[in-house]
Amino acid sequence: MSWIVEPRDPRTQSEGVVAGYAHTARRWPSQPLVVRPHDTGELSGPAKLERRLPPSKADLAGRGANRALGQLIHLRARVVDEDGAPVPGALVEIWHCNSAGKYLHPNDASDSPPDPNFHGNARLIAGDGGLVELRTIKPAAYAVPDTDGWWRPPHVHFSVWGRVWLSRLVTQMFFPGDPLNDHDAILNAVRDPEARARCIARLAPTTRGPANALVYEYQLVVRGRKAAPRMP
């Protein structure tokens, strides 16, 4: 199967230096990015990535005495390509902070408390419909240090592999109705309002998920579509 990956649309993809996000001015290249042709190295990718990155359990919330604090949620995310075709076997990494806004990471210097029952990351393999499901708790908002009142809205990080090397997608999912969504420097760096709206999960009727969990549905579209068959 051969694939085509077209240039990014600057309305739906952000880049460069972003107002209010100081690190971007120290890290994004000052020189223009060089456009290059794509060949096998860009349009192929690792098969069965789980040989290198083993999957984990699809539950971060735990049960009974080991239950993490916070609102129980169930994430149902579907990985599709630009044709809308599911990507079964796609590897998906998910991580987020706890219900007090603390990451289980040595670089998180905030004084919010860790939760001994919350281990904040999972690695999953998409099933036949491109679907990954994770039982977890809702992350909290947190203030970004050394900024003038920037609060990150509750969000979940995703790292996804698609069809080929250039399909790699790292993004963040937001929750519907949170007033902080309108002020977040990262979400609002995406210029197109519809593209931003697609980064916000949809709350599904709770009868569709595990007990006592709010169900959020989400779609992850990885770059790449099928190349048209060559005319003989």
Binding site: H23, R26, R27, W28, P29, P46, L49, L53, W95, V170
Partner: protein, 169 residues
């Protein structure tokens, strides 16, 4: 046919789980099998403006096998490393062979806090004619320094003096 817009990429953030980045920077063995070819080590420092080293930067690579193939089931050409507090990453891999029409090279992808999306670049072993390397103004910056016959250094300067050239894919 409908075409969906790819999801907006967003920054990796500063808290990419340490354990996700571990155990994936040795490409010489997969599923207990030793890959064919010349074993090499690649190390480098990732820095921002003013040459400050960056901690916990995620560096991913994708390369051909010793014969220039991307579809060898016995060589897994993908790896991942994260920088330490000194900004240093390292990979152990097989020296790639030439892919048709291209000089031997390794594709690099960089993910980090403050990068709104991934950055792509390519490491070459020698300054030779190559359809991609020839597009770049500062070609020397994409050619790895040879430290010994098995050891190469490839620094990634995201911004500032001697900035690494990056590709817009």
């Amino acid at each position: 046919m409908t075409r969906l817009a790819p999801t907006a990429e967003m920054t990796l953030g500063p808290f990419f789980p340490r354990e996700f980045a571990q155990g994936a920077n040795d490409l010489t063995v997969v599923a207990g099998k030793r890959a064919e070819g010349e074993v090499i080590e690649i190390t480098g420092r990732v820095t921002e403006l003013d040459g400050k080293p960056l901690d916990n930067v995620v560096v991913e690579i994708w390369q051909a096998d010793a014969k220039g193939r991307h579809d060898n089931p016995d060589f897994f050409g993908w790896g991942r490393a994260a920088t330490d507090a000194k900004g240093v990453y390292s990979f152990k891999t097989i020296r790639p062979g030439p892919v048709q029409g291209r000089a031997p090279h390794i594709n690099f992808l960089i993910l980090y806090s403050g990068l709104m999306r991934q950055l792509q670049t390519t490491m070459f072993f020698e300054r030779v004619s190559d359809p991609v390397l020839d597009l770049v103004k500062h070609r020397d910056r994409l050619v790895a320094k040879k430290l010994s016959s098995q050891s190469f250094s490839f620094d990634l300067r995201l911004r500032g003096d001697d900035e690494t050239p990056f590709f817009d894919d």
